[in-house]
Structure formats: structure tokens, C-alpha cells
Amino acid sequence: MSDTYFYIFAAITVASALAVVFKRNTVGASLAFLLSLCGVAGLFLQLDAQLLAVLLVLVYAGAVVALFLFIIMLLNMQGGDRPVFKKMTIVSSTIAGALLLTGVYLLAKRPELARLPEAGQPASVLLDLKIYGAKLFTTYLLPVQVVGFLLLIAMLGVIVLSKKFEGLEDVK
């Protein structure tokens, strides 16, 4: 039964991921991205990672894709003419794609994969949001602080890259 669910969610994820790449309408593409994220969340649920699944839907599907949609609508991009690929590009990318597929196929066919030991329950399961939060404020306090600085420089970066500076006298 769980295999059936796995195939359903996997099919949703892969099909909508392909749609993100192939759809010409950007709004449609971002909606397909949303669907793909929901598929991944379903896969996470099957792996007993409920917290991750909820966070994925809340943060990515809820906030990030909504932002994408805002920006697409604000910019109001018209899909211009696509440049035709050169023959060389088509040939080389076909070869690269074939190599990649062969690699993945050979990897999936490896006998080692079938012999992988069954994963037992890890010693400490971070299922509980409370445990997760406590970890962030005890064991992982330093990375959380560093992420604070990361967000600060990201914010400064947005200001530097988007603000109009013509009116400033300190810019010589």
C-alpha cells in the first residue's frame, strides 16, 4: 500500500517538475512548482518526517511561491522569442543527458542498493517540534546566530542591488 502512495507522490513530483521547465507561461510554471513541492511533502510524510513536510508546505509552497507569483506579475514579463539552439548545443546536450541517464541507471542497478541494510529508528528522532526548537537554542545556537548574519547581508545585498543611489552625495 505504501508503495502505491510512493509512486503517486513521486509521479506528481516528477511530472510537475517537468512542467516547470517546459511550460512557457511563467505563472503556470510557478504553480507547477507549487504542485511539485506538495508531492515532495507527501514523500516526506511517508518517511515519517512530518515536521519537514509541514515546514515545506508552509514556507516554500505558502510563502516563497507566493513571492514568485508577486514578482512575475509585477514585472509583467512578455515571453520574447527564444533563440534557436545551435546544432553543436543540441548534440552536446544530448550526449551529456544520455551520459547522465546512463549514470543514474547504472547506479540504480547496482547490487549494493538492494543489499542496503534496513534503516532502524535513529537514536533520537526529531519528530517533536519542541525537541527541534530546544536543539536550535542549545546545541545549534551558534549556527542560528550565523544565519542571523547571513540574513543581514542578504538584506543589505538586496538594498545595494536594487536601490537607486543617484541622489546620494556620498557617492562620488
Binding site: P117, P122, A123, Y140, L156
Partner: protein
């Protein structure tokens, strides 16, 4: 969650141990406050505050070089996220020096551009602090967070000159490539975590499957775990992006050309050294998987040396040239990394090489920053015509820097290469050494092409009508930049002659 665990966690957070990083963060915040508080006319002081503050931190770090945290009993702080080692301590000094030099070049280069300046110094400081944490991290969570802080900082710095389309293009390319490499790295970490955390396997991690010590223990007890092998390969691929090793070098020329020159210097020296600091740590963690590490890294090193040198031969833009030559330097350093697996103390030679690379690169980048015009991406070899005749000082610094990069005796770069090749010879990597020597010979051609452009007058290219002189106007070098460049060139020469005490100290200390 009871009181004891909380107290234990709180006691493990030894903030004093990361004082230099904390101070860099505070100086970075101070710069932003100063921008708000100071009147506009006093804003020229802020770069000085950034540089002087860092010099202060550097002096403090050197005075407290042998901290009690280097003692094995106090080595692990922050619940095993950080491990304070003498190698990490050395890289801290290295990154601070890099950051000071980048700020010095930045204050010269940004004056030529119509761009805000305070944010540049702020981001450089935060990125340097993250690099310092990266060199000391002993846990994949810390490693990833520090690495992402470095990478996000570089996305902004690379596209900093927003008015220049090439800079924006470079930023976009770096963003996509950086995101791809981060995802490879993360996927590898997940594989390792999954394998090392599986309680059914012998030697699985008892408490923390992302701690380097526990992963190393697990790998030693499971020498042929397929999942862990995949993880090792993917993690190495993610790091290879950062050092620009083949086949992950594709971003190097465009990003190096488009980024402002100080940022190119930061990428070439800081980012590459950070990649190698991580690589040296990880190679020791993955030592049990020598069987895949050695052929993989050897192939990568050989391809990197050959590609970097051949691609640099045809370049006319000096930023692309130095980027591709940097790729080949990553190849030489990779040979040293392989030697670590066979020869103890081989890491010391890599650190010495990095120091010589820093001295020579910043000498060259300093001259580039000074010679460059308003359009930072447009720096052709022709712009260096007659440089040595018009400004013998700059010409001399350029010649010393390029000579050291090429590895011409008696400059420091020669000793650096020799020191990396000796452990490789002891390890029996003869065919790699052969390729490296051919690479060094090829590199002399393009480095000397640049020196030739600066020293010997070429036939003037007939100017076509309506085409104005493209070469940016030359100005005399300022006292501050001149002092820095002179010191860098002097150090490059001195390390070539008197390297023995430094090497002895490095071998003993690391």
C-alpha cells in the same frame, strides 16, 4: 529537557573561543551604525575604521595565538560544532590578512565606481568571519551554514557594480553555479548522515551523525558502504566547485572578469583557501575511503592543471587570465591534498603554498586595481603597455607577483611549489608530478606574456579613426596602496630566500 542538559549546553558555548569572529561581526555592525550617525562629509573615515579594526583583531589574534582552546581537552566547543586546531588557528590569521588586503583594494577600487561603499566593507567583514568559522568547523551543520554565509556574501559582492552588465551577468552565473554546488554538497551530507546514523550498522554514530569525528569513526569501521561512498563523492564535488577544480570550473572566467577587482582577489585567494581548508579537514575525515579518494582527486588534479594552463594561454583579458591561472593553482594544491593521505605533515606545505599565493596574488591584484579604469571588467593586456617605463615601482611589483605565481626561483612561489611537490614525490605520485611540471612550464608563457606587455614596448597598434584611446589614464600610485604593494612584493622575495624558519615552524605547529 532538564536543567542539567541546558547547563551542559550553555557551558559548551565558549564564546571567548570565537572572539575574533565576534569582533569582526561587531565591527561590521559598527560600520552600519557609523553610516547612520556620522555626517555625510565624514563617511570617508568608515573604510579606515574597517581596516584599522581588522588590524586590531589581527594583532590580538597573533598575541593570543596559543589559546588554551588548542589544548586537546578543551578542543571541542559549541557541543562539538567547532574544533579548535592549530590548522584552524593558522587559517584564521590567513583569512584576516586576506580580508584586510581586500578592504585596502576595495577602498581604492570603489572610489572609481559610483557605488555605495559601506555595505561592501560590511559584507567583506561578515564573509571573512564566516570563513574563519568554516576553517574550524567540526560538524556538517556548522560547515554548511558558514559556507552558505560565505557564498551568499559572494553573490552580492560579485554583482556589486550594478551599473555594469558584466558584473550582473557574473553574479547571476555565480548564483546558479553556487546553488547547484550547494545542492550537491547537501545531498552528499544527507547520504553520509543517513549511512552514519543507521543504528543497524557497526560503529554508527551514537549521538551526532554529522560530527566529523563520529563520521570518521563510522567510515573506518564500514570501509565499503555504498551510500557513504556516494556521499563522499558528492561532498567532494560540492567543495570542488568552491576551489574551481575541473569539471566544476565552468564559472571561473566569466565570474572573475565581471566581479569588481577586489572581489576577484577575494574569490581567488579567500574563497579558494576556504575551499582548501575544508578539503584538508574532509580528506582526513574520509581517510578510510582512500580507495576512491585517490583516483578521484588525482584525475581532478590532472584535468585541472591541464585545462587551467591551456585555457589561460589564449586570454587577453587579464582578469580571465588570472582566473584560469588560478584554476591551475588549484590543481597544484590538489596534488598536495592527495599527498596528505600518504605523508604526514604534508598539510604544512599546502598552507605555505597558500601564503605565497596570497602574497603574489594580492601584489598582482593591487596593480590591476590601480591600472583599471572606470569599466572594471575591461582590463586587457594592452593596457599594461609601457607600464614599467612610466611607473617602475608598479612594474616591479607586477613582475615580482607574476614571477612568484609562475614559480620562478628565487621567489616565494617557487619554494611553495617545491614544497607541495616534495611530499607528492614521497607519496609516489610520479605521473601527476609530470603533468604538474608540464603545466608550470606552460604557465611561464602566459605569465611572461603579461610581464612582456608591461616591460617591453610593442609596436603601437594603428588607431582606427573615430576610435578613442581605450587605455585608462595612468595616475601615480597613492602612498597607502604603494606601501601595501611594496610590502607584499618584499615578502614574496624574502620568503624565497629565508623560508626555512617559517617552514620549520609550520611543520612543527600544524
Amino acid at each position: 529537557m532538564n536543567l542539567e542538559t541546558l547547563t551542559a549546553a550553555a557551558n559548551s558555548n565558549q564564546w571567548l573561543a570565537i572572539m575574533p569572529e565576534l569582533m569582526l561581526g561587531c565591527i561590521a555592525l559598527l560600520l552600519l551604525v557609523l553610516e547612520v550617525v556620522l555626517p555625510k562629509s565624514k563617511h570617508d573615515l568608515i573604510p579606515g575604521v574597517a581596516i584599522l579594526g581588522q588590524v586590531g583583531v589581527l594583532v590580538g589574534l597573533i598575541l593570543n595565538y596559543s589559546t588554551p582552546y588548542l589544548d586537546p581537552s578543551m578542543r571541542d566547543t559549541f557541543n562539538g560544532l567547532l574544533a579548535h586546531t592549530s590548522q584552524g588557528q593558522f587559517m584564521r590569521v590567513f583569512f584576516l590578512l586576506t580580508s584586510i588586503l581586500v578592504c585596502a583594494l576595495g577602498s581604492v577600487a570603489l572610489a572609481k565606481q559610483r557605488m555605495p561603499r559601506i555595505e561592501f566593507f560590511h559584507i567583506v567583514l561578515v564573509v571573512s568571519a564566516a570563513m574563519m568559522l568554516l576553517a574550524q568547523s567540526n560538524h556538517f551543520v556548522m560547515l554548511f551554514v558558514a559556507l552558505e554565509t560565505v557564498t551568499v556574501g559572494f553573490y552580492i559582492l560579485v554583482s556589486y557594480v550594478r551599473t555594469n552588465p558584466l558584473s550582473l551577468e557574473a553574479g547571476l552565473k555565480y548564483l546558479i553555479m553556487g546553488a547547484l554546488s550547494s545542492s550537491l554538497l547537501l545531498f552528499g551530507i544527507v547520504m553520509l548522515y543517513g549511512a552514519a546514523g543507521n543504528p543497524l550498522l557497526p560503529g554508527h554514530a551514537e549521538t551526532d551523525a554529522m560530527n566529523f569525528d563520529q563520521i570518521a569513526n563510522f567510515l573506518a569501521q564500514n570501509p565499503d558502504n555504498f551510500l557513504a561512498q556516494l556521499g563522499v563523492v558528492l561532498v567532494l564535488a560540492g567543495v570542488a566547485f568552491k576551489i574551481g577544480a575541473v569539471p566544476f570550473q565552468i564559472w571561473v572566467p566569466d565570474v572573475y572578469q565581471g566581479a569588481p577587482t577586489p572581489v576577484t582577489a577575494f574569490l581567488a585567494v579567500g574563497s579558494k583557501a576556504a575551499g582548501f581548508a575544508v578539503l584538508i579537514t574532509l580528506v582526513q575525515v574520509f581517510a578510510a575511503y582512500k580507495g576512491i579518494l585517490v583516483p578521484l582527486l588525482s584525475l581532478m588534479a590532472a584535468a585541472t592543471i591541464i585545462f587551467g594552463n591551456l585555457a589561460a594561454l589564449t586570454q587577453h583579458n587579464v582578469k580571465r587570465l588570472i582566473g584560469l591561472s588560478g584554476v591551475s593553482h588549484a590543481g597544484y594544491l590538489l596534488i598536495g591534498v592527495i599527498a596528505i593521505l600518504f605523508v604526514p605533515n604534508a598539510a604544512a606545505s599546502i598552507y605555505f603554498y597558500l601564503v605565497t599565493y596570497l602574497l603574489a596574488s594580492f601584489a598582482v591584484f593591487g596593480v590591476m586595481t590601480h591600472v583599471a579604469g572606470v569599466n572594471d571588467a575591461d582590463q586587457e593586456l594592452e593596457h599594461y603597455t609601457n607600464l614599467a617605463k612610466e611607473d617602475p615601482f608598479l612594474g616591479g611589483v607586477l613582475a615580482v607577483g607574476l614571477g612568484s605565481l609562475a614559480g620562478i626561483p628565487p621567489l616565494a612561489g617557487f619554494i611553495g611549489k617545491l614544497l607541495v611537490f616534495i611530499p607528492a614525490f614521497q607519496a609516489g605520485l610520479y605521473w601527476l608530478l609530470g603533468i604538474a611540471i608540464v603545466g608550470v612550464v606552460i604557465s611561464i608563457y602566459y605569465y611572461f606574456g603579461w610581464i612582456k606587455a608591461a616591460f617591453f614596448s610593442a609596436w603601437p597598434v594603428p588607431t582606427i579613426e573615430n576610435e578613442s584611446e581605450t587605455r585608462p589614464a595612468r595616475t601615480p600610485v597613492t602612498f597607502g596602496l604603494g606601501t601595501v604593494l611594496g610590502l607584499l612584493a618584499l615578502a614574496s622575495v624574502l620568503f624565497g630566500f629565508y623560508q626555512q624558519p617559517v617552514i620549520a615552524w609550520l611543520t612543527a605547529a600544524l
